[in-house]
Amino acid sequence: MKKKIENVRNIGISAHIDSGKTTLTERVLFYTQRIHAIHEVRGKDGVGATMDSMELERERGITIQSAATYCSWKDYTINIIDTPGHVDFTIEVERALRVLDGAVLILCSVGGVQSQSITVNRQMTRYKVPRIAFINKCDRTGANPYRVAQQIRDKLGLNAVMLQLPIGLESDLKGVVDLITMKAIYFEGDQGETIREAEIPADLLSEAEAKREELLDAASMFSDELMEAALEGTPTEEMIRAAIRKGTLSLDLAPVLVGSAYKNKGIQTLLDAVLHYLPAPNDVENTALDLNDNEKEIVLNTDPAAPLVSLAFKLEDGRYGQLTYVRTYQGSVIKGDTIVNSRNGKKVKVGRLCRMHADQMEDIDGAGPGDIVALFGIDCASGDTFTASEISVSMSSMHVPAPVISLSILPVDNKSQGNMSKALNRFTKEDPTFKTFVDPETNETIISGMGELHLDVYVERMKREYKAEVQVGQPRVAYRETITQRAEFNYTHRKQSGGSGQYGRVAGYLEPMEEGVFEFVDKIVGGAIPREFISSCDKGFQKSLEKGNLAGAPVTGVRAVITDGAAHAVDSSDIAFQLAAIGAFKEGYMKASPVLMEPIMKVAVEGPTEFQGAVMGSLNQRRGIIVGTMEESNYTVVEAEIPLAEMFGYSTVLRSLTQGKAEFTMEFSAYKPVPKNIAEGVIKAYQTEKSKK
């Protein structure tokens, strides 16, 4: 069925872990008739929710990988990406946000805005994703959606406006009041599928009127027409909706809805809100980089007849080979077409095109702008751009954080060895924050990623999905090295071993610059080093950066400037100058007061206030700086900056300290110098290991 682009919604569902997003998605799929029975996340029937398609997710009751799914509601197409909640998998969240046009932020009416929601909200702001909030679990004891709405304003900084009021709370939750139509809505039938509209209960009427006033005040800011009509007392539903939509699309307003997915209340009205307030693909401006015009930014247009531009945002190893999830931004992709991967110029033929419903699929012939579909049997990596052959553009690169932790893994037998490489090959393609390499010195396979849990999950997946049993080493922090002062070098590489020798002299200086970058500057005048060997010097320096002299960690934050040198008419060569630069770097590096740097994590621990002292004590013991504490009514968030090296095993410590009532999230903040006494230990351990070999 061909859909108009105005009738397409690509939405993400993001939230704190355990806010019930999988439960909610399950209801959405049920009401949109994509599934015929509702299964709970930890349901007694043992089937698990439809979106949790991986066995491991079902077992842990969490969603690890976002599954894309398609459904339709009232003549609209909705593509839903169910996103993971744990911060260790934020690349999944970020990638999903990149391809979505709007999002539903689910919040628990008891827990409120928790640390993960703050992270996700920040990511949504970064990718300019308009959002609506759904305050879930209004049936739970202690539910207070008004407090949560206030928290959305205070903690997330969003202009939250309630579009609904709950009728009853906790076990008395009966339905919602729609403040636009001023009707009570009840969800009846075994699974809430029958909607009954009625008059607002008398005891709620004055509150509903007051809240409607607030809503009109907020919405009027986006529509003069509504403002005038509101003053005259004649605003229409269409006017209000149009104003709310305008405010939402410009990220100046966040409509708030309430309900309980578990009790089947408020889901259909949430779906209506998705259609009313979240953008269609043509409401959003997307850009790509023109590879033929110096990567100039160009605006994509949503004409189905325009040349195709699409982004492969997720790979999955399905039963029938690699599945590539693709979002089209411009033009159409048709079965049988030849499309080009703009990263490597490879042409691929679109063999099979599917619409995904969790782990079932539906074959289709083509997809237009704004669609999210899956392609079969295409070899590519996450983040690749596919285009029509007549254009050469690339979607702007996605923000990929560098891994901060690594582990060595060793297969237990030959069979596992083979399976392990298959698994690693797949995971690195799926997840750009997951990296793997073989340490040339120890011959160990090293995996690295964004946190302990991140790597744990991949080790588990290796075992379950690929039958690869591996022994896991101690987690190791990804240290870096940098220099702290300027130092000169003047190095001559000379080798004479019969035949033509090697000769190159490189002189100049190293100086510190901002963390994470390297710059090579050529300030040679008068051709002291012939032009053709300048790039050899650069190569030599780049090689030196791979392993610093202190602890074998990569070196960053260095500017290498060459000012002089010498060459020999016969003996100078590319390799001679590379080796000269390596020697020069070594000479300058140790004089430039190198230091070891470690990843510092921003850690947020959230738990009942009574444990605040214990939590702060535990953070303080970990070389942490406590940045601050935020005290809410009955719980507190402690925010700290702590070296990753000190965070190993913290979840266990925190659990026992707080009777399991507190939880923490962490994300990479910055690289900072390791204190001297600790750096000495790390350096010594490296040197001892090195001398053993």
Binding site: D154, K155, G157, P512, Q612, G613, M616, G617, N620, I625, I626, V627, G628, T629, M630, E631, E632, S633, V637, E639, E641, K672
Partner: protein
């Protein structure tokens, strides 16, 4: 080095001379102004000045988020070190982070026992021992004399100085005999130093309307630059 330079040229020296040994360790100060005149900016500058003088500061923010308080520090710090070399600034920034802690409370949940409990958590575990506490956002219309006395006693016992901000209202014209406007007119005697912010044609004027410590120099004219919210001598 940079710290000393910043301390020396800080116009807030009128509150606390560089050789401050003669000043008492505890002092209860108040910054009072109408909404939007820069109370938080002044408190943050007082806090940063204390940090530059080697003290540790606890910033208590009532009714505002941690992010907002952090943003204030980042902003004021940036203005403070404008024109300094980036290497020195990075080191100083780290120092500031270690010397400052922010606590935020909901309006409804802030009380002296709660603050004392939190302070004890920090002090007994040797996590952080503040020399100066700034309390931003306390609702003086709801704070009675006893609770303020309580807070003063706590600060004296802990030997820390404390600065409060108070919001005054245009339509409440009550003033104490020593010129302290409502809502603090009845508790003005509890404060050692009181600064009043007033909007004028040229900017926002800081007036030291009371000082019993003998440290301040009320005769020096200070203004708040509305574009940067930084205090400057005129």
């Amino acid at each position: 080095m940079l710290k000393e330079e910043l301390v020396k040229k800080n116009p807030l020296r009128v509150l606390h001379p560089a050789q401050g040994d003669a000043c008492p360790d505890y002092r209860m100060g108040l910054v009072i102004a109408r909404a939007g005149l820069g109370k938080t900016a002044i408190l943050v500058q007082i806090a940063l000045d204390s940090i530059m003088r080697g003290q540790k500061v606890l910033h208590v923010s009532i009714g505002q988020s941690l992010e907002k308080a952090k943003a204030w520090y980042d902003d004021i710090f940036r203005h403070l070190v404008e024109g300094q070399s980036s290497e020195k600034v990075v080191a100083l920034d780290e120092d500031v982070l270690r010397s400052r802690m922010i606590m935020t409370f909901k309006e409804s949940s802030f009380s002296r026992p709660k603050l004392e409990e939190r302070l004890n958590d920090l002090v007994y575990q040797n996590i952080f021992r503040p020399d100066c506490v700034v309390v931003d956002g306390l609702d003086f219309t709801a704070a009675d004399r006893d609770s303020l006395l309580d807070l003063r006693e706590l600060m004296v016992a802990m030997n820390v100085q404390v600065w409060f901000s108070a919001l005054s209202h245009r339509d409440d014209t009550r003033v104490s005999t020593d010129g302290i406007p409502a809502p603090c007119h009845e508790v003005g005697d509890l404060f050692d130093t009181v600064i009043l912010l007033q909007a004028e044609q040229q900017g926002i004027r800081l007036e030291i309307i009371k000082d019993t410590t003998g440290c301040a120099s009320p005769e020096v004219a200070l203004m708040l630059d509305p574009s940067t919210m930084m205090v400057k001598a005129v």
